[in-house]
């Protein structure tokens, strides 16, 4: 039982990250009916940007020292007697990283937003009026462009980036088993859930939400109703790219920087469809479910099985519910 809870926790934590990634796919879909296959690569860029602004830039000669490592006297004193790997040491080292973490996040958000606007302008905008299929495929083309560009800009891989929150192990006992989790992961989960909830509320309960949904359903009519459709498109891409930047930063801290982040993003598609392409709640549910199922599978069956869990799960779910958990069925009046 205790072990079960342990894997449950692990699963929820990775589910939170899946949800954060899915968030970007769903918001672009909601506004434009386009499923962004390159979302993983947008996240990859987010991760690399985070690395650039949180690791590379602070090391540059012109940056003041405190950006790279902020060591006020009280912190030095606080850290003095902390053993390594202790919470105290972890918190201290996180505090001294705070300036570059903030710089990294700000930089990643801004740079990724810029990138998304570029994509929207240069790729998606010219395809307005074309079939959604063409738009979806152009995001497939984007995968190559983004992957190549990343290869051209950054040769840095296997780099480590500072984690967003202080990272120390938390241990506790439950049902006679020793459980643990990393505070950093908990912090990531909170960020993911907060972003998710915020966006969900905005779309559900605000006028902007209506604009986005109207645009998704019928671009030209939305346009004729006074909705600035191009603006809606760019906002959707902005949401995707900024949440993607955060997801990228989190992934980079968890698994290190590597082009595999792009592929990981692709596998989230299965999660998104399982939840129902247009339903935030459904996607959140699916993310958590997949995260937990994957953790359980890793526990009981091993890694090779864990990898196909999302695919088996999505297949089963959409056979039973063709529009995912909470996806809306199209009304087709004959």
């Amino acid at each position: 039982m205790g072990q079960f809870v342990q894997y449950l926790i692990n699963g929820v934590i990775s589910g939170g990250i899946l949800a954060l990634i899915a968030l970007g796919i769903v918001s672009v879909f909601k506004a434009t009916k386009v499923v962004n296959f390159a979302h993983g690569h947008l996240i990859l860029f987010g991760a690399y940007f985070y690395f650039t602004f949180a690791v590379m830039l602070p090391e540059a000669a012109f940056m003041p020292d405190w950006v790279r490592s902020w060591e006020p006297e009280w912190l030095v004193a606080y850290r003095a007697d902390a053993p390594s790997f202790s919470p105290k040491a972890a918190i201290a080292s996180w505090i001294s990283d705070v300036p570059r973490i903030l710089l990294g996040l700000a930089g990643a958000l801004a740079a990724n937003a810029l990138l998304a606007l570029l994509i929207e302008r240069l790729v998606m905008r010219p395809l307005l009026g074309q079939s959604t299929f063409a738009m979806i495929l152009s995001t497939v083309g984007l995968i190559w462009v983004l992957e190549g560009s990343a290869g051209l800009i950054w040769t840095a891989e296997a780099e480590q980036v500072p984690s967003l929150g202080p990272n120390f192990p938390i241990r506790f006992e439950l049902f006679g088993a020793n459980l643990f989790l990393f505070s950093g992961s908990l912090f990531n989960l909170l960020i993911a859930l907060a972003l998710f909830a915020a966006l969900m509320l905005v779309l559900r309960y605000t006028r902007s939400g209506v604009a986005i949904r109207a645009t998704a359903e019928d671009q030209s009519t939305a346009y004729a109703m006074g909705i600035n459709v191009p603006r809606v498109f760019s906002s959707a891409w902005l949401i995707a790219s900024t949440t993607g930047a955060v997801a990228g930063a989190i992934l980079a801290t968890r698994t290190g920087l590597s082009p595999a982040i792009g592929l990981f993003g692709l596998s989230v598609l299965a999660v998104v469809l399982m939840g129902g392409l247009d339903s935030f709640a459904g996607v959140l549910l699916a993310s958590m479910l997949i995260g937990v199922l994957q953790a359980m599978t890793q526990w009981k069956l091993g890694g090779e099985y864990a990898e196909i869990v999302p695919y088996v799960a999505v297949l089963i779910v959409i056979l039973i519910r063709p529009h995912g958990f909470l996806g809306q069925e199209e009304i087709e009046r004959i």
């Binding site: 480590q160 082009p259 994957q294």
Partner: protein, 371 residues
Amino acid sequence: ETKQWRVAASLPMTGPFATAGQLVAPAFAEFEQQVNDSGGIGGRPIKVEVEDSGYIPRNALANFQRAMAGGDLHFYFGDSTGFMELVGPTLEGDNAVMMGSTSFASSLANPAERPYQFMAGPTYEDQFEILLKDIADKGGKTVAFVYSDTEFGRDPIEHGRKVAADLGIEVVLEEVTKAEGADIENHVTKLAQANPEYTILQGYVTGVWPQLIGGARAFGLQTQFMGTFWGMEKVIADRVTDQAGPFLDGYQGVMPYRYFYDQEDAPFYQQLGAYKKSINPDFPGYVVTWELEGRLNLELWKLCMNRVIEADKPVTPDNLMAELRAIDNWDSGGFFGQPVDVVDHKIGQGRVYRYSADSKLFTPVSDWIQV
């Protein structure tokens, strides 16, 4: 008659192993220049052509065939087990060419089935065996295998189980992970449950192993982590130490070669270092192990070329391979700590090194172990 000797290579300069390809690629240009500066081989210059494969075997095969179509080819360097196996059966008659690669897959060290392919070091199975022997020597009783779900990751596992059983070591956990971006929390949890004395990591290049070790350390696991060739690079370990702290301290693994900073009685390393310094004043004095592997392949080819030419035989793949098989008690001048033999198209030895986060060096903790 050819006026120059042609060498071609596929390297993964894009795709999942781009890091490795990009780090190794310059060595090929440098080799060309260095050999030609010193008068070529047998008086003729060499020409080295490098292509990107994206780590896709089919692309590498196309590269290879295009290189072949470009005229006489005297050596080819492949970039993956997949490619080596794909191209292997076609190497016959006019299509044959001497071929080394980045792969240490056990199936490639097989003169009967793969008469033109060789390996500049021990197979992954050998590497596992070396590690397990070292564990046994130190009185270890339990071990975990953590490996990626790739051909490369799985290659030595079965053999590893057998050797462990023979040596009386219990394999308490076999954990399969993704090759990149693995779910560290789950793996650490499972390691904690199994609680092995030693954990051998296999099938990773730049990622996963540092995160896994970091996670386990933070959690306070006491297991001794060990790696194989691709997980033993100082540059990576140093980066991790700089950016995330000293948790790789004490990490061990098997390495077939001497690290480049270990230049005592290593005339070849000294020369190479001097040469690098001469063409690049900023050369930091360290050559990555991955580059050493490529370089050793090239050096072995060069050695065979010289011997064939000296023996006044025609430069054919068969003659080259015959010379390779005849290598016996060869003093590499650096790569290996002792003279080596080529047996079964491989060089079956290595030793265990340990990383120190203070000195940022891998230092040997065992003798050369022959398998």
